[in-house]
């Protein structure tokens, strides 16, 4: 099926969905050749050969048996397809007891992750292999989507509602998550990853407080990774053509004009404040649309980001 799907099947569910796809494909190819074959065959065979022989076609106005058959046969075929698609879907929708629960909230333009033990993350979900996972989905501002192509599942994320999605990740690996509901300028960059880890590695990772990069990773290096993962670059370019917010390079230490007419030096405190409370001092000429990272980035992560920004001279 790999030539049909751009994504491999990452779970038993996905393989069953591929089964439905394959069945419909086989039926579709059959009817394609049947109908197109007859269309082309008749068009070629019964083309007018002599200009004056056009009044000698037989008067055939219909055939009740044919009409009956081509109502009956398609009806049976579509009921069969419906039934198969429905069964596989229903199995997919019933959550298995004991699933790990992960809360995912979407906003323009990132996914905020919350684990039951209180850990938070942005745009990256880590789960152990072999255990069912239930995603509890919500949205803050507009509609977003949560699409895991490798698992063949998708669910809308809707303000004011909670939707759920359930997968059984069998194989360790890193799987792409896409936003599939158009949500504004940053929509096409609204991406996240589901990282399925072997159970031992996952346990170790949780034990280390869900930190990556080890204890001795320099702050600026860690900051750079967070800037990439947390979706900062959807709105901020490091340099070059500006996106929605100010560019990063050369920001630290510069004098920035504010909306209220004052101006301020972009020091550590200003950068930190702009991450946890972006609306406090809005830079002149940019829309006040940045969400707060107060709840999603722990203090040491904000420090790391600030350290990274300081290196961009």
């Amino acid at each position: 099926m790999d030539n049909v799907h751009a994504f491999g099947a990452a779970s038993g569910q996905a393989a069953r969905v591929d089964g439905v796809f394959l069945l419909i494909l086989v039926i579709g190819v059959f009817f394609f050749f049947l109908t197109q074959g007859m269309l082309i065959y008749f068009a070629v065979k019964y083309r007018r050969r002599l200009p004056d022989r056009d009044n000698e076609t037989p008067t055939i106005t219909g055939n009740p048996l044919f009409e009956f058959l081509w109502i009956l046969i398609p009806s049976l075929v579509v009921v069969a397809i419906f039934y198969y698609g429905w069964r596989v879907y229903t199995d997919q929708r019933i959550p298995v007891a004991g699933a790990t629960e992960v809360h995912v909230n979407a906003r323009q333009w990132m996914y905020e992750i919350k684990y039951p033990d209180g850990r938070t993350a942005i745009n990256e979900i880590r789960v152990p292999a072999g255990k069912p996972v239930k995603f509890i989905l919500s949205a803050t501002d507009v509609l977003h989507g949560f699409y895991l192509p490798d698992f063949r599942v998708k669910m809308d994320m809707i303000p004011g509602r909670v939707t759920t999605l359930w997968v059984q990740p069998d194989r360790p690996g890193s799987y792409q998550i896409y936003c599939t509901v158009y949500c504004g300028t940053g929509h096409s960059n609204m991406l996240a990853r589901l990282v399925v880890m072997p159970q031992r590695e996952y346990a170790e990772w949780v034990e280390h407080g869900g930190r990556e990069g080890g204890e001795h990773e320099p702050l600026a290096v860690r900051g750079e990774r967070i800037v990439k993962n947390a979706g900062c670059l959807n709105c901020h370019a490091v340099e070059g053509k500006e996106k929605i917010g100010p560019n990063f390079r050369g920001l630290y230490g510069s004098k920035v004009p504010l909306e209220d007419g004052k101006s301020v030096t972009a020091d550590e405190e200003f950068l930190r404040e702009s991450i946890v409370d972006p609306g406090a001092k809005v830079v002149k000429g940019y829309p006040n649309v940045m969400p707060t990272f107060k709840a999603t980035l722990p203090r040491e992560d904000t420090d790391a980001v600030v350290e990274y920004l300081k290196t961009l001279k």
Partner: protein
């Protein structure tokens, strides 16, 4: 029915000159022509937006336009093509011209209402053009809360579409009454051309479904202007409600787009096969069946919106039953070709292309109707490809078939057939290269090249139309030797269509007999 034609009394409907003769005309043919000009212009503009999208998609890096501009382009492409072209083009354009001629009437039942519907339409597109001061980037579906919060001129655009919808209701209503009340003596329901059956089913949908989208856009405007939170969860509303309202119209309306095109194909196939249509009753009633079932399936656009699995299952089940009457039509068209004496003039080429492409569009439908695969494919390029195969491969090819078929009747001039066939070849190849690639992996470079070929074909076709208008050879009254009543009128028809209202004694598909 022998092919007898009227010679025309020299008072063709195009005789009168001056803008007043158009702006205040009550002639269904002139109103139809105004609709055709307007919708074709919007088709070309909407097509330019599509080409700009394809240009940007040549490479993954944004090269030519910003993200926002790209989003504006796909919104304008979608909303122009849907609301200003594909919904009105066949029903209001060709429909206005040919419904009265087909049933042997002098005009529609309410000519003033008909003119009003055009000017409401014109007001609608002027308002929509006005919304370009702050062009919208919500996609043609206007999903809330994004559309409720957007700083773009969403309110203006939705009021424009409200007007377009109103015009659509007026036209539908007019045709329903016309088809019921204005048929020539002897024109029983089972002697009606199949184009009329398609238009009848279309009109029912327009009258019943369009008010819902009108109300929906008013609610959206109220939400934006007055702060009423119909769709805003913080005020007790629900964004999913908008989707239910929107699709309650916007699903049935795809049959407003396709049923008249199917009607055109049902006319063209027998004429160029010199065979009676196969399964007249089945084709006629399947139009009504599609219109009816089409009202019950809107939820299949919302399988991932958090609806209950049971509701999803019911919508999925019903969805599959649209496939049956559609398949019945395709089988009957193909059976009509059997033992025919087929020629391949441009109307026939487009009609056969309709069947060919519509089969691809139709067979990719079950992937989207089945729940398990829908959840995977929803909101992906697969849907874009499926939709364009049915709408562009279907409706637009049917529209092109109709334009080529009726060009001599509408203008009194013949088209250059060689150029028409060359344009068809470009359209056929360009279309498949552009859209087939979208089903599998999106091969953007190939798809963009295809779109350029497609555009070249359409431009050549338009040039051919203009050349035909300017210096085409005079058309006889019945160049295709067809039996429907419009061919009894002169080319172009006189203002009152027929000197004497024809008396109908047979159905119009008696081809292949010594008479025709």
């Amino acid at each position: 029915m022998p092919v007898e034609t009227e010679s025309g009394n020299g008072r063709g409907y195009l005789t009168e000159r001056g803008w007043r003769s158009w702006a205040f005309t009550l002639d269904h043919k002139r109103i139809g022509a105004m609709y055709l000009w307007s919708t074709i212009v919007f088709f070309l503009i909407g097509g330019v937006f599509a080409l700009l999208l394809r240009l940007e998609l040549l490479s993954p890096q944004a090269k030519y336009f910003s993200n926002h501009t790209y989003n504006v382009f796909f919104t304008l492409h979608g909303s122009m093509m849907i609301f200003l072209f594909i919904i009105p083009a066949i029903p209001s354009g060709l429909g206005n011209f040919f419904v009265p001629l087909h049933i042997g009437a002098r005009d529609v039942a309410f000519p003033r209402l008909n003119l009003a519907s055009y000017w409401v339409f014109a007001a609608g597109f002027l308002v929509i053009i006005g919304s370009l001061v702050a062009p919208m980037d919500t996609g043609w579906t206007f999903y809330t809360p994004y559309s409720a919060k957007s700083a773009a001129a969403v309110t203006t655009l939705s009021l424009g579409i409200f007007l377009i919808g109103m015009s659509s209701i007026l036209t539908g209503l007019n045709f329903l009454v016309t088809i019921h009340k204005m048929r020539a003596p002897g024109m029983t329901w089972h002697r009606l051309p199949l184009f009329i059956w398609g238009m009848y089913a279309t009109s029912i949908i327009q009258v019943v479904a369009t008010p819902v989208v009108g109300v929906t856009f008013l609610l959206l405007a109220a939400e934006r202007l007055l702060g009423v939170g119909f769709f805003d969860p913080s005020k007790g509303g629900d964004p999913v409600l908008f989707q239910h309202f929107f699709w309650f119209y916007s699903h049935p309306v795809v049959y407003v787009m396709i049923l008249p095109a199917m009607g055109i194909v049902s006319e063209v196939i027998p004429v160029f096969s010199r065979k009676p249509i196969f399964g007249y009753d089945a084709i006629a009633y399947s139009s009504l069946a599609i219109a009816f079932i089409g009202f019950l399936v809107w939820g299949h656009h919302m399988f991932t919106s958090g609806m209950s699995p049971l509701a999803n299952a019911i919508f999925s089940f019903l969805t599959f039953f649209v496939a049956v009457p559609t398949a019945v039509k395709v089988f009957n068209w193909i059976a009509t070709l059997y033992k025919g004496s087929i020629t391949f003039e441009s109307p026939m080429l487009y009609a056969l292309t309709f069947i060919f492409l519509f089969i691809v569009g139709g067979l990719t439908g079950p992937f989207l109707g089945a729940l398990a695969t829908n959840v995977q494919l929803h909101d992906t390029y697969f849907v874009v490809a499926h939709f364009h195969y049915t709408m562009m491969g279907g409706t637009v090819m049917g529209f092109f078939a109709g334009l080529h078929y009726w060009f001599p009747k509408m203008t009194g001039k013949m088209l250059n057939e060689k150029v028409a066939r060359a344009a068809w070849a470009l359209v056929f190849v360009g279309f498949n290269v552009t859209f087939f690639t979208m089903f599998i992996h999106v091969e953007n470079v190939i798809s963009t090249i295809g779109s350029a070929v497609l555009a070249a074909g359409i431009l050549l076709m338009c040039w051919n139309f203009l050349q035909g208008l300017r210096k085409g050879a005079p058309a006889p009254a019945n160049p295709w030797r067809a039996l429907t009543l419009e061919w009894k009128a002169a080319s172009p028809p006189d203002t009152e269509n027929f000197h004497e209202i024809p008396v109908v004694t047979e159905w119009p598909y008696g081809y292949g007999t010594p008479k025709a």
